[in-house]
């Protein structure tokens, strides 16, 4: 064997293995090549053996990182070269799936494994390893699968690239005569493989004879029930359903062959599996992502292997009384107020669409029947791509009623981000407006399609739509026997998958159970005192779904929900007027535009706004001057800016009065007050802790509530998420300090129990003087004349970064200029003027920070959803280029 990068030559081993395969004449012996990290050498105790099986056209080299990581973690790792592949013998016999499973059993019998066995497979090696796992349950301790498939739905065509590879005239030429199949597979790696690694993958397949195994593997793909290997595949596919040992599936979704539907199929066969999708990774997921350390981390977390560390499964403690989210709708529908407005939706035409509590309840029941009649019920994932309003409200409560899991992704993610999110959620059904259904068609989203509005027959067939919401509503009650769907869903079953904004990498799906959603409603109710009799304007999506649950009348204003900044003052006022609202939920971006358009308000609009007693702005911090301007518009309102995130919509809450008190506390020197945005005290039911940062800015496991200690903000509450969807590794990380959820934000508490947010963990600056956070200095800089927005970032290697301020100059001369910021006068980034630089330095020095440079830019990048959170990671990357000399390009 040639020297291979990342492979210790001592791992390379040959063994002569007697064959019992029916493909060989009795008495045949084959020489196998395999890699063995010999962790059990000299009688050392190991936790067990990982038996790694490669697919086509790779070989044991694919698992090199597993051998190294396994050695360090006390696992023996054996990676075989299947016969006719890699450096194992070329047998001259066409080996089919059944033979290959027998071959692996022969190999194990000859070589012997140590301790409990975990099978690890990739591509068609996944099938072989599953076949082995299915037939060798004794000693089987776990199953790990990466980009593979066990079942080919007869109704679906096999993936196009494989069809091509199998096509007459192409197959032999592409797989054996030339190295095209091999080359194409290697080209699937993202990023591109290193030259040495590519060379290593090719090494055992230099000539056509050596590639016979590749050709046979492709020819053995069971394309249909008549194929000779179909029976073996089906046996394994059905057999694995009874596997109860822990299963981990790690997937690269950018795979033209083993795409998400195959993952979905496996997930249904092995519903207890832990899944991690490495967004951005492809077929060769071992090359694209760090799957080896994920696998070993998982083995430890799941307690697989000898002498295991007890599994860190978190016991849910102290369940509170549970009432389903939709309970109050049902109660109000039969109460004295059944005829009063439950939900309203402002329309462009000006006439609001409304439903009373009775009508809402009836509509939910009807749609529930429609869903059940179509087989959509417990556990079905339903992607809702419908703007906030009456229809969305009805759909949400109907889905929850029948136990379906709602999938909600923000259109603000953009077409690509939204598409990635929907695919990742693998919905069974997509219910959407026409635009969403067109996207579903164009991007090939999974799932059946239901349209929110009735469409023409031509459109229905073009978009593959099986029904409309109207059809759901008019489904004959007889279809489900006329009885209301019973029983209510299990409180601890999944209820919703909400997607994060994706401002820090691909959007993540956040799973809530019914109990957790109900707890969210209770937290809002108890923190803000909302309930029956309250009328609220739902201008902020996540809270919009809670109105009916609270028993509050809710109205959605006329606005483009994908862009909160389109909410105008008059639209807000009209919505408030329609239901005589006293409460408004909005986002900072929406409020900026409301202020910018306040001139258009009619007298009656002003009167409507004057009735508001509570205004809640969620999603991003909001500067005091902006809040004060909002106060002028809603003089009677108590202004709240709660702090939370998709994983825990409410963590802490503060109102304008509280903010003023916090500012006073800074002045009077209350311990811990200052250096950050004050977000108030934990909401009802929530606890907040701080995982102190070490010198390089990494959070420790020591949780403190001591004032003034900066660290990652941790939250624990009944309404915190259950987990991330198909992101096992991410979930492990976020739940790594039990029983807390790690928010990824940094901050500290003060002596009066207020929480101060100092930025994102990823934005912590690692300077020679220790870790420092950006927000405190940013706020100070934003107080300077001529500075509209400031970002403070670190440039240079961790541990020795310098601190740099990047400012957006206030060209309009108006801090509150609405969502549309004035066109910048200066188009190019440059070093800030001497006076600004000197003042900024002086402010920084007061905080013990040396500013290396102050850069003025025309515009700082902010997130799409809130139009307020600065993308400091991007600013830092750009600043590093700008300050390295030469061309930096625009920010």
């Amino acid at each position: 064997m040639v020297a291979l990068p990342g492979v210790d030559p001592s791992w390379s081993t040959f063994a002569d293995v007697p064959s019992t395969s029916s493909a060989d004449t009795p008495g045949t012996t084959h020489r196998w090549h395999y890699l063995d990290n010999r962790a059990d050498h000299d009688g050392r105790t190991v936790k067990g053996t990982l038996l790694c099986v490669h697919g086509n056209p790779t070989f044991s080299f694919l698992w090199r990182t597993y051998l190294a990581a396994g050695l360090a973690a006390g696992w023996r790792v054996i990676a075989v070269d299947q016969l006719d592949m890699g450096y194992s013998a070329r047998t001259g016999v066409f080996r089919r799936l059944a033979d290959r499973i027998t071959d692996l059993e022969d190999f194990v019998a000859a070589v012997g494994l140590t301790g409990p066995v975990v099978t690890v497979g990739h591509d068609w090696g996944g099938v072989v390893s599953l076949g082995y796992a299915d037939r060798n349950r004794a000693g089987l301790a776990g199953v790990i699968l990466t980009n593979t498939a066990i079942h080919q739905d007869p109704a679906r065509p096999i993936p196009a690239p494989l069809r091509l590879a199998l096509a007459r005239g192409v197959h032999r030429l592409g797989t054996r005569t030339t190295s095209a199949f091999l080359d194409v597979t290697l080209a699937l790696a993202r990023p591109r493989l290193d030259r040495q690694v590519r060379r290593a993958f090719r090494a055992p397949y230099r000539d056509a004879k050596a590639r016979q195994g590749i050709a046979n593997f492709v020819a053995d793909i069971p394309v249909g029930p008549t194929h000779p290997s179909y029976a073996a595949l089906t046996a394994a596919a059905e057999g694995i359903r009874s596997i109860t040992v822990p299963v981990l599936m790690m997937w690269g979704p950018q795979d033209p062959i083993f795409s998400d539907p195959y993952l979905e199929d496996l997930a249904r066969r092995l519903p207890h599996a832990d899944i991690h999708r490495f967004e951005g990774a492809g077929h060769l997921v071992q090359e694209d992502a760090d799957t080896a350390s994920t696998a070993l981390q998982w083995l430890e977390a799941r307690g697989v292997g000898l002498d295991p560390v007890p599994a860190g499964a978190l016991e849910r403690s102290g369940h509170t009384a549970y009432a389903p989210l939709g309970q109050r709708v049902g109660e109000l529908a039969v109460g004295p107020d059944s005829g009063s407005t439950a939900v309203a939706e402002m329309t462009a035409a000006g006439v609001p669409r409304t439903l009373s509590w009775r009508e809402l309840q009836d509509d939910i029941e009807r749609v529930s029947h429609g869903l059940l009649a179509r087989g959509i019920g417990h556990g079905s994932r339903v992607s809702l791509l419908v703007p906030p309003g009456v229809d969305l409200t009805v759909l949400i409560y109907a889905c929850l009623r029948v136990g379906a899991v709602i999938v909600v992704a923000d259109a603000g993610l953009g077409a690509r981000g939204l598409s990635r999110a929907v695919r990742g959620a693998a919905p069974d059904v997509v219910i959407g407006i026409e635009r969403a259904l067109v996207a579903a068609r164009v991007f090939g989203w999974p799932g059946r399609r239901i349209s929110a509005a009735p469409l023409s027959a031509a459109e229905r067939s073009a978009l593959g739509i099986e029904a409309s919401l109207k059809d759901l509503r008019s489904t004959a009650l007889s279809a489900t026997g006329g009885a209301p769907p019973e029983p209510e869903a299990d409180p601890d079953a999944d209820a919703a998958i909400l997607f994060t904004s994706g401002s820090t990498g691909p959007a993540k799906g956040v799973v809530y159970t019914h109990r957790q959603l109900a707890a969210m409603r209770d937290a809002v109710e108890r923190t803000l005192g909302l309930g029956p009799g309250t009328a609220l304007v739902a201008g902020f999506a996540p809270f919009a779904l809670l109105g009916p649950a609270l028993g509050a009348t809710s109205v959605t204003p006329a606005m483009d929900v994908t862009a909160p900044r389109t909410l105008t003052a008059q639209a807000l006022a009209e919505a408030a007027e329609a239901i005589e609202a006293t409460v408004v939920f909005a986002s900072p971006a929406a409020l900026r535009n409301v202020l910018a358009t306040r001139g258009e308000l009619t007298p009656s609009g002003r009167t409507a706004l004057a009735r508001i007693t509570l205004l809640l702005s969620a999603g991003a911090p909001i500067p005091v001057p902006l809040l004060e301007a909002v106060q002028d518009l809603v003089p009677a309102a108590d202004l709240h800016t709660p702090y939370g995130m998709t994983e825990s919509l409410l963590v802490a809450d503060i109102d304008l009065q509280g903010i003023r008190e916090a500012m006073t506390a800074v002045g009077t020197g209350t311990e811990g007050a200052g250096n950050g945005v004050c977000v108030g005290r934990p909401v009802h039911g929530a606890r907040v802790g701080i995982a102190a940062l070490d010198d390089v800015g990494a959070p420790s496991q020591d949780v403190t509530v001591e004032p003034g200690v900066t660290g990652e903000i941790l939250v624990s509450a009944p309404h915190v998420k259950d987990r991330y969807f198909r992101l096992w590794r991410t979930e492990q990380l976020s739940a790594g300090i039990p029983p807390w959820h790690r928010t990824g934000d940094v901050g500290h508490l003060d002596a009066d129990g207020r929480l101060w947010v100092e930025g994102r963990l990823g934005h912590v600056i690692s300077s020679p003087d220790g870790a420092m956070t950006p927000v405190g200095l940013e706020q100070a800089l934003e107080g300077l004349d001529g500075v509209r927005l400031a970002a403070v970032v670190g440039v240079g290697p961790m541990g020795t970064q310098v601190v740099v301020a990047v400012i957006e100059e206030d060209t309009a001369g108006d801090a509150v200029d609405g969502g549309g910021r004035a066109a910048p006068k200066r188009r190019r980034a440059r070093l800030a003027d001497d006076t600004v630089t000197a003042r900024a330095r002086a402010l920084a020095r007061e905080r013990g920070i040396d500013l290396a440079a102050v850069i003025a830019v025309p515009r700082l990048p902010v997130d799409i959803r809130h139009n307020a959170k600065i993308d400091r990671t991007r600013v830092a990357r750009w600043s590093a280029r700008f300050l390295a000399g030469g061309r930096s390009g625009p920010l």
Binding site: P768, P797, G799, T800, V802, R830, A852, A853, G886
Partner: protein
């Protein structure tokens, strides 16, 4: 202790000698012309003159070696003779005379080849890749000096980066002069971050090294103010201190590097002995980031700079106002 300071007629050499005197040490200075350091005994001579060096180093316990050929012009042989042969000559003499500790004053350019440096560690000296005769010969001399380090004859290298201060003819004078003539461009807007060292800080660091030889021996330590700044800001600060208007026009760094290379060749071909207005090396220095990780240096020397850039510029200004 008695310390021999070579090259004490330069700005940094003088500052080192004065710092040692202020600390109550006995100081001897060795260079070609009188050092002008009051309280020190001058030995005049050439660094490659073995007899002169041997005489100067007698009865010294320590040596700080700063004497070097720094300029751009000159033949390779000149640089080799003064920087490499001279250093070897001094080390030989010092060892024979029973000197215990030697601090070799070097330059960060010995380890770097013209690419941008961002929070860079010191790195080993590399004569084959160093740019220009100065850096190459300083690298070779540093290697041979550190190779001689042993418990009985401890050698450390201190590499101050861009030393400036009142009386500096290398950088400050030239910047002010060219700005006055309107011949000082910024390269690429002058946005590259540059580490510099105020002269007193460099001097204190070098003296600190003598006292921390048990930690520092055999090592090379980059010394800076630890306050990287955009080059435009530094140049503007120096200009203002010198009473001239800061540069306003910017030239693309790529153009300057090309022009520098052309001017360099023409200058050398014409046999001119003064410094050319732009060199490729200077253009690189002025258009790429050069700043360093100071953590190891500060720990080993148990030292932090006492004069920050702002204070340094104030001192420079009062020097020019005299």
């Amino acid at each position: 202790m008695t310390v021999l300071v070579t090259g004490a007629s330069g700005m940094l050499g003088r500052a080192v000698a004065e710092q040692l005197l202020a600390d109550g040490e006995e100081v001897r200075c060795f260079q070609r012309r009188p050092s002008g350091v009051r309280g020190a005994r001058d030995h005049l001579g050439s660094i490659e003159d073995s007899a002169a060096v041997t005489e100067a180093v007698q009865e010294c316990s320590s040596v700080v070696h700063l004497a070097a050929k720094v300029s751009f012009t000159g033949t390779a042989a000149d640089f080799d003779r003064i920087n490499v042969v001279g250093t070897r000559c001094l080390l030989d003499a010092a060892r024979k005379a029973g000197v215990g500790d030697v601090v070799y004053v070097s330059s960060p350019s010995v380890a770097h080849s013209g690419s941008s440096l961002v929070g860079a560690p010191a790195g080993p000296a590399d004569p084959t890749h160093a740019r220009g005769h100065y850096a190459r010969t300083k690298a070779a001399a540093e290697l041979l000096a550190l190779a001689r380090s042993s418990p009985g004859f401890r050698v450390a290298a201190v590499r101050p980066h861009i030393v400036w201060g009142p009386g500096d003819t290398q950088l400050v004078e030239r910047v002010i002069q060219r700005a006055r003539q309107g011949r000082l461009p910024l390269l690429d807007g002058g946005t590259a971050l540059i580490d510099t060292t105020y002269v007193d800080n460099a001097a204190v660091a070098i003296v600190a090294c003598l006292r921390r030889m048990h930690q520092a021996q055999g090592r090379a330590l980059v010394v800076t103010n630890g306050e990287p700044r955009p080059i435009a800001e530094l140049l503007a600060g120096i200009c203002r201190a010198g009473g001239v208007a800061p540069p306003r026009w910017s030239v693309p760094g790529l153009v300057a590097r090309g022009a520098g290379a052309v001017i360099e060749r023409a200058w050398l071909a014409a046999g001119r002995s003064e410094e050319p207005p732009m060199t490729r090396f200077l253009a690189e220095q002025l258009s790429t980031a050069h700043w360093f990780d100071q953590r190891a240096t500060r720990e080993v020397l148990d030292w932090t700079p006492a004069v920050d850039i702002e204070e340094g510029l104030r001192r420079l200004e009062s020097y020019y106002r005299r």
